[in-house]
Amino acid sequence: MPIPNGGLITETNRQYYAGAQQFYLTTGGNNLTFTSTFDTNLIFGSSDPSNGQYGLNNFVVSISANAQVWTELTPAQSVVNAVANQNGGVASANITTTVAVAGLRVGMTIYGAGITGNPTAAKITIVNGVNITLDKTIAMAGAATTPVTFQFDEPFTMVGNIITVADTIPNTTYLKIHLKDSAVQANRGSYEYTKLHDVIDNFLIAYVGAGKLIPSVKRTDVIFHAKRGLQEFSYDTLKSIRSQELTIPISLSLAIPQDYVNYVRFSFIDSRGAQHTIYPANALTTNPYSNPVQDNLGTPTQDSFDSNLTGTSQTEAAWAANDPRNVSGAYVQTNEINGIFGRSFYDGAYGQRYGLNPETSQKNGWFTINERNGTFDFTSELKNRLIVVEYISDGNAYDLDAKIPKLAEDALYAHISHSILASTAQTPEYIVQRYKKERSAKLRNAKIRLSNIKLDEIIQVMRGQSKWIKY
């Protein structure tokens, strides 16, 4: 159904796919308002492309006479030419034009080469035939008449998803609000989610009230438990959708993403685009949180502001200089005991090395998390490598994050109910327990749903069972 008809979908197909909402005006006029019904809130900086704030806009407003050829609504569209009588260079807020000019509107700004004393752009406040009153004084010097132009510096404005077009729109005109590509893409797939404020409103409607188990609750409590629930769910239930594609610099360090809570996987990307997992160097090395400079007796030293003096980490320097093949055992140098695990070529020859240590036998590289510097540190063979960092956030970092997959929506209601009942005085314990079980059961359901197990995929994996396993 392309037209919203009372269901949960409120955007038309055109709004969703093309990011466009169109209006048709049988009767035009000025200061007309147009209400955006996109799921995406409009963001407005300026309607003048020459204004630096224009780049903030996430939409464009265009008009057309035939809905085929569209012209963006900019100050240039509103320009009205006139000829003003000079006033002897005496600054005045009242000017006259040689003839009455149609199309002049209150709010238009006057421009012209012959105008002086107009540094702040005077605007029309009254139009009465050839007599024009401005909100500031200007001077008309020079020739007997001065060509001037009037235009709306901001041909339209937007507040609260309502666009007001200052200029006159002719009768039988089409007007279109067109979202920019980034805004359209951000909205795609949004039906998969329920916004957190909808969850909060729904909860207050359905679970709170006279005659219900929660007769009254502060909305801030519901907001708190909803956000906490979203955080908890983000850690182990919801899909991890955060990832960054980065190149490891020569310093071998990358800043931890701003909304990072925990990592899911680090992997480098080879020339064919395939991922290779980079492993944590958990037991192999560490990033000391503090590196105090010691005196000869080993005591940490302080500067004149009583702060501890700190130096660079020798551990990190040594690890950065280390050839990772020393860890994996791939590095072979005859006649010498080498590598971190003291392996040599002869170990294998003497039959003393039985198989591999799978934890360290890999050549994809290692990473550590440097809490002191707030960075991910990598081993040297990953220098200049393209990597992908997949991580989880807590769902509360940005307003856009504040949403829950519909597959886990019921689990969040159960979480909020349980949290409120468990923290409310005099709630019978059996009620608390009942809701605890309900929460647990619904969360389990959500995890199963979100784990995305598909029968066809399992069948494909299980087809491997007919392989012979050779020892």
Binding site: S36, N41, G160, H197, A210, R219, T220, F224, R228, N396
Partner: protein
């Protein structure tokens, strides 16, 4: 929908005079009527609280919560709160409606009522322009009563917007139109709502000042324009976040307007009821019996009749008991 003040007064006089017990003057009646109306009105809130704790039936006319809501709905108002301006800029502090004309800081609810009389011209017109106190009260959303040639018009027979009174039907030239306006007096604050353009309207949550600072300090519960909060102090509301400086709507309960039984003195010195200068009880019609009984109770005190007091008190007690079973 109101209780006719003349009916109540005549009924009270009838009962009092049945055995020549005494007489209640219009002045006494107006004072006692006001007292009784306030008494009945203030019981609504406690009754509602009690009834909300009791399971209700959803059968038509039997749900007591709905019944109480119907009685209270007469006094429910929904109006815009006006921001307080500092140095010409709107702040996040708002004045509540019903506290006087927020646009005029010198106005402190001094005008409680105003009357404006129009004579229908020839040819007759539908619109009439208000001036003076009537205009002030009209702008403040005062409660109007319109009488055409002494007959009160239904509220759907006219409309009042700012300075303009518009009649639906053309009146007869020469007829008198009397417009009475009564100021609304704020009683209790209900919910507040924030509207910003086409964004969904949000209810504001009321917090006290201690909570406010905790909430502002908490990242998870910090108020936003999606979930704003407010503090209610000194008859003003202060909203957080402070970026909200307009678009606040207020629902509140106003006080009932005092009933007035007014009269003209006839040729024989008798009091003749004057509808156009009187004001009915605003209570729900179902409260008529209760109002008469309570007035009789006070009348018993005035005329020093223990019997009246006893009978009225018994009746009231019995009625209350029935309502709370």
């Amino acid at each position: 929908m109101a209780i006719n003040v003349n009916t109540v007064y005549q009924t009270v006089l009838l009962i009092l005079n049945k055995e020549q017990r005494g007489y209640m003057t219009p002045l006494e009646f107006n004072k006692i009527g006001t007292q009784v109306q306030e008494e009945i009105f203030t019981t609504y809130f406690e009754s509602l609280n009690q009834q909300l704790r009791v399971p209700q039936t959803n059968t038509d006319y039997a749900d007591r919560v709905v019944g109480l809501d119907e009685k209270m709905s007469i006094f429910k108002e929904f109006e815009t709160a006006v921001p307080v301006f500092v140095n010409g800029l709107a702040t996040s502090v708002f004045t509540l409606p019903g506290f006087g004309d927020a646009g005029n800081t010198n106005y402190t609810q001094a005008i409680t009522s105003a009357t404006q009389t129009f004579t229908v011209p020839n040819p007759a017109v539908l619109t009439y322009t208000l001036t003076g106190n009537a205009l002030t009260l009209s702008n403040d959303g005062g409660i109007p009563e319109v009488f055409l040639n002494g007959v009160q018009l239904n509220s759907n027979a006219y409309s009042l917007s700012g300075a303009t009174l518009t009649l639906v039907s053309t009146p007869t030239p020469g007829n008198k139109i009397i417009l009475n306006l009564y100021a609304k007096e704020f009683y209790r604050l209900g919910a507040l709502f924030y509207t910003n353009g086409a964004y969904p309207t949000q209810e504001l949550e009321r917090v006290d000042r201690t909570e406010l600072y905790h909430l502002l300090g908490s990242n998870l519960t910090k108020p936003t324009s999606t979930y704003p909060i407010y503090v209610y102090e000194k008859n003003q509301i202060t909203i957080a976040p402070s970026t909200i400086t307009s678009g606040i709507m207020t629902s509140y309960i106003r006080k009932p307007i005092a009933p007035i039984w007014n009269f003209t003195v006839g040729a024989n010195g008798q009091y003749t009821f004057s509808a156009s200068t009187s004001f009915n009880f605003e209570l729900h019609p179902s409260e008529q019996v209760e109002a008469i009984l309570r007035i009789l109770l006070y009348a018993g005190v005035v005329i020093k009749s223990p019997e009246i007091i006893q009978v009225a008190a018994q009746q009231i007690a019995q009625e209350n008991q029935t309502q709370q079973i």
